[in-house]
């Protein structure tokens, strides 16, 4: 997060999945899941 860091930073290892990654995915994943569920419910009308 160092805003001034633009030096060489080749990664040697992949960072683990931290809480911030989970939180970030929840922020976008929850609205998307809601939208998909609404669409899925609507799509069920085709099979009635």
């Amino acid at each position: 997060m160092n805003p001034q860091s633009n030096s060489s930073t080749p990664a040697t290892t992949e960072p683990g999945v931290g809480g911030s990654v989970v939180l970030a995915w929840l922020v976008v994943g929850l609205p998307l899941a809601w939208g998909v569920s609404q669409t899925f419910i609507k799509a069920l009308a085709l099979f009635k």
Binding site: P10, G16, L32, V36, L46
Partner: protein, 478 residues
């Protein structure tokens, strides 16, 4: 353009430090695409906007806007999407994704607010200017804003990364449609059809939601690469190690071949999307079960079919784009077109014979490849032109989308009107559309097969073009 007050938006302030987890970048990209993908759900406003005076969608009053007038708003937005992506692409590459995402959020959210004023004043030109023009610019800048950043973070999985972001554009409609419906129902008592306050609330929601992307986006350091990453050269010679600028890219035949590829794929997909609801109703009517169905049930089934296609549009963006990392882009597009030709050609027969289940499956696969075409193209461009200005090149390629939006609608409306005038009825009305789109896919296939490696003379010479970018001393130019 930049000064001290906006320096926190500069590219140099978004460079990730050591240990930054690159999986934080796709959610930032998704925040933008999930918001601007709302544009695909604009049709949810058609009936309410068309009955602001009468208050009854089925019985419009004199002065109520027509469907054609309202539909033009979406067309303007899509045209502006392509134009602004093409015009602002190089600016985006220079200033970085954060400033571009903020510009997109301000335009897209602001467009809603201006359109709300237009609805309140019952001035369609203000709606065109707000949602269509200003919002359309937000669409274009937002659409391309995370692309080159994602490709730089995921050189080993370009298809997966761009597929995730562009999947969000498909998902945006799924959120935008029920959200708008709920808000209009909530505000219906306080404003005509509840549209104006809905536009205000949606504008604010999207403006705020997009801030998550603005403030969480990071670009990698110039020579960053994933742990253990070795450039993969096994697919084909199409994957370049050089870099081509946006200005040079449009001088290459490869750019224009991909332009035709995207044009054909999108136009063909529009052929299915525009006819989906009435066509499935005709197919259902031809079945034993459909003969006993009332009109309301048929309409609900039509809406359900459109919803199902939306789901496959979304899934296809991620599935096909990810698969292209393994298959190679050229082969993936050859599948879109080769399989597409077959499916478009048999769909009319299936609809004519009322083979409902098979027809639904065929359309779902077609639409998955339509979505896949959008999601795979940034990685294809990166393979051919390098990652230097891939966002700007992608922006210029999106003019094919704008062209397809106009062309697809014209083909569908002209052919169906002609078919009706010729006496065709039911599912047969749409057969010429499918056969024409199959022909268009042949053109797309030939264009894809003609793609070869870009001549080295177009590549940037000298040291790596990836220099730290400082915008303070640069004036605004596109």
């Amino acid at each position: 353009m930049a000064d001290n007050s906006t320096s926190f938006l500069d590219r140099t302030r978004t460079v990730a430090g050591p240990g930054y987890n690159r999986w934080l970048v796709p959610p930032a990209a998704l925040a933008i695409h999930l918001a601007i993908g709302q544009a695909y759900a604009f049709s949810v406003f058609n009936k309410p906007l068309g009955s602001l005076i009468s208050g009854d969608a089925d019985h419009p009053a004199a002065g109520d806007w027509t469907l054609a007038q309202i539909g033009l708003t979406f067309s303007i937005a899509i045209v502006l999407l392509g134009l602004s992506a093409a015009i602002f692409g190089k600016w985006l590459e220079r200033v970085g994704p954060r400033k571009a995402m903020l510009a997109s959020a301000l335009c897209f959210g602001g467009g809603f607010l201006i359109a709300s004023l237009g609805v309140s004043l019952h001035n369609i030109w203000l709606v065109y200017f707000g949602y269509g023009f200003v919002g359309g610019i937000g669409l274009g800048i937002g659409y391309i804003s995370p692309v080159s950043t994602l490709i730089k973070w995921f050189p080993d999985r370009k298809g997966v990364a761009t597929g995730m972001a562009i999947m969000g554009f498909g998902g945006g409609a799924m959120i935008g449609s029920p959200l708008a419906t709920s808000l209009m129902a909530h505000f219906k008592a306080s404003a005509p059809q509840g549209v104006a306050p809905t536009f205000i609330v949606m504008g604010i929601i999207y403006l705020l939601f997009m801030q998550f992307g603005v403030w969480s986006i990071r670009v990698p350091a110039d020579d960053w690469k994933p742990a253990g990453y070795v450039p993969n050269e096994e697919h084909s010679a199409l994957i370049t190690t050089g870099n081509v600028s946006a200005d040079n890219a449009i001088k290459t035949p490869q750019f224009w071949l991909l332009w035709v590829v995207l044009l054909c794929n999108v136009t063909a997909g529009i052929g299915v999307l525009e006819t989906a609801s009435p066509l499935i109703q005709s197919v259902i009517k031809g079945t034993e079960k459909g003969k006993g169905m009332d009109e309301a049930a048929l309409v609900a089934a039509g809406a359900g079919f459109v919803g199902l296609l939306s789901l496959f549009n979304l899934l296809g963006r991620f599935f096909w784009s990810s698969a292209s990392d393994k298959l190679g882009r050229k082969i993936t597009y050859a599948i879109y077109f080769g399989l597409g030709i077959l499916l478009y050609a048999i769909a009319p027969t299936l609809s004519h014979n009322a083979q409902l289940a098979l027809f639904v499956i065929v359309c779902c696969v077609i639409i998955s490849m339509y979505g896949g075409g959008f999601a795979t193209v940034p990685a294809y461009l990166s393979d051919l032109f390098g990652k230097y200005q891939v966002g700007a090149i992608h922006g210029r390629l999106l003019t094919a989308w704008s062209t397809a939006a106009i062309m697809g609608h014209l083909i569908v409306s002209t052919l169906t009107e002609h078919a009706k005038a010729s006496g065709l009825t039911g599912a047969a009305t749409y057969q010429p559309v499918f056969y024409t789109m199959a022909g268009l896919l042949v053109v797309g296939l030939l264009a894809d097969l003609a793609v070869t490696a870009v001549n080295e003379k177009y590549q940037e010479k000298g040291p790596s073009p990836f220099k730290p970018v400082t915008t303070k001393s640069q004036s605004f130019s596109i």
